[in-house]
Point group: C3
C-alpha cells in the first residue's frame, strides 16, 4: 500500500469564487503512482468547500443564488459578535460539503461523464489550502 | 491490502426515486473478500445522491417534500438556458450528498441499527451508475 | 497496511447538543499507531451528525438557529404517523453530514488552523455511537 500527500493553495481574487480542480487532483494522483485506490480532497479552511458537480457557468450561478437564499450574508449572526463577518460562509460551505473522495481505477480518476471537482471559496482574498491524500496500490 | 471495484446500474421508472441499496453494497463487500476496511459508494452522475438514513416510507416522503421546498423545480434557473431542465436535481442531490463510506468490520458493513444505504435519483428514466470501491485487508 | 477500529459513545443531557470530539479522534489515531493514512468518523445513528467547523459558541448557536429554520421541528411530518417525533432531526443531520474523513500525516490529524471535529446530536438523551475507523501505514 502507498500513501501520498500533497496540498493545493488558493488565493481567490473575489470573496466568493468557484474553481475547477479536477486536473490538479488528477496530476497529484499521477505523481503518486497509485493505480487503484482513493483520493481524499478536503478543504483545510472552514469557509471553503470541495464538491463534485457540473462544469457549466449557468449552474454555478444557480448554486450561488441558491446558497445566498438558504444562508443569507446580511443576517445578525451571533458569530459576528467576535468581530468576524463571515458566518454565512460557514453555513454555505456546510451545504456544499467540505470534502470528497474520488475513486482511482487504472491510474485515473474514476469519474462519471459530467463529474468535475470544484473548490468553492466563500471568504476568499487570502491564502487557503486543500489537502489531497491518495491511498491505494 | 486489497482494492476491489464494482458498479451498480440504475434506470428508474420515475424521474425521482429513492432506492435502498444496502444489500447490493454488502454483496460487493462479500465478493471482495475484504474483512476489515472501508467501502466507498459514490454516484457517478451529478443529479443523483447516495445517502444513509431510515428505511421508512413516511420519512422518505418527508425528504422529498422538504427537498422540493429547499430546491424547487419550477424556478427560472440559469442552467436551463443550455436546454436542460434539471437544475433543481443538481441542488437536491447536493443537500443529500453524492457519496458515503461504510466501514467494514468482521467482513460485514459496520452499520448502526437503523442505518440503510440509499440511492436517490432526481433526474431518472435513463441509465446511471454508482461506483463501489472497497479497500482493506 | 493497518486497519484499526474503535467507537465513541454519547448520551447527551439535552435533546440537541454539539460536542467537540477532535481530541478523542486524535487519541484513537495515536492508539492505532498509524503514521500516514485516513480516519473515518461516522455517526451510527440517523439523527446525529459528524462535521468539521469552528469551535466558537456563537457560530454553534448560529448553526442551531439556521437548522431550525431550514428543517423546523413542529411540522406535521409523515414520519410521525409511525409514533416518532424526530423527523426534523433526520433532516438536520442530513444538512450537517453524518461522517467525515480526516487525513493523517506524521501520526497526527492533518487539520487546518481552525478545523475541529464535532458530534452533533439532534435527538439525544439516549446512548448512541460513532464508529472511528483508521486505515494507513
Amino acid at each position: 500500500m502507498t500513501v501520498f500527500t500533497d496540498y493545493l493553495w488558493f488565493n481567490t481574487k473575489k470573496k466568493q469564487e468557484f474553481v475547477r480542480i479536477t486536473d490538479e487532483v488528477a496530476a497529484i494522483v499521477k505523481k503518486s503512482g497509485i493505480q487503484d485506490g482513493m483520493v481524499l480532497v478536503s478543504a483545510m479552511h472552514i469557509t471553503a468547500a470541495v464538491y463534485v458537480n457540473d462544469w457549466e457557468s449557468g449552474l454555478i450561478e444557480d448554486f450561488q443564488v441558491w446558497l445566498e437564499k438558504l444562508a443569507p450574508s446580511k443576517l445578525p449572526y451571533k458569530h459576528h459578535q467576535t468581530g468576524e463577518d463571515n458566518a454565512d460562509a460557514h453555513l454555505k460551505r456546510t451545504i456544499m460539503g467540505h470534502q470528497i473522495i474520488v475513486p482511482i481505477t487504472g491510474s485515473a480518476l474514476d469519474l462519471g461523464p459530467w463529474e468535475q471537482v470544484f473548490y468553492a471559496e466563500f471568504d476568499g482574498q487570502r491564502r487557503k489550502r486543500v489537502v489531497v491524500k491518495v491511498m491505494g496500490a
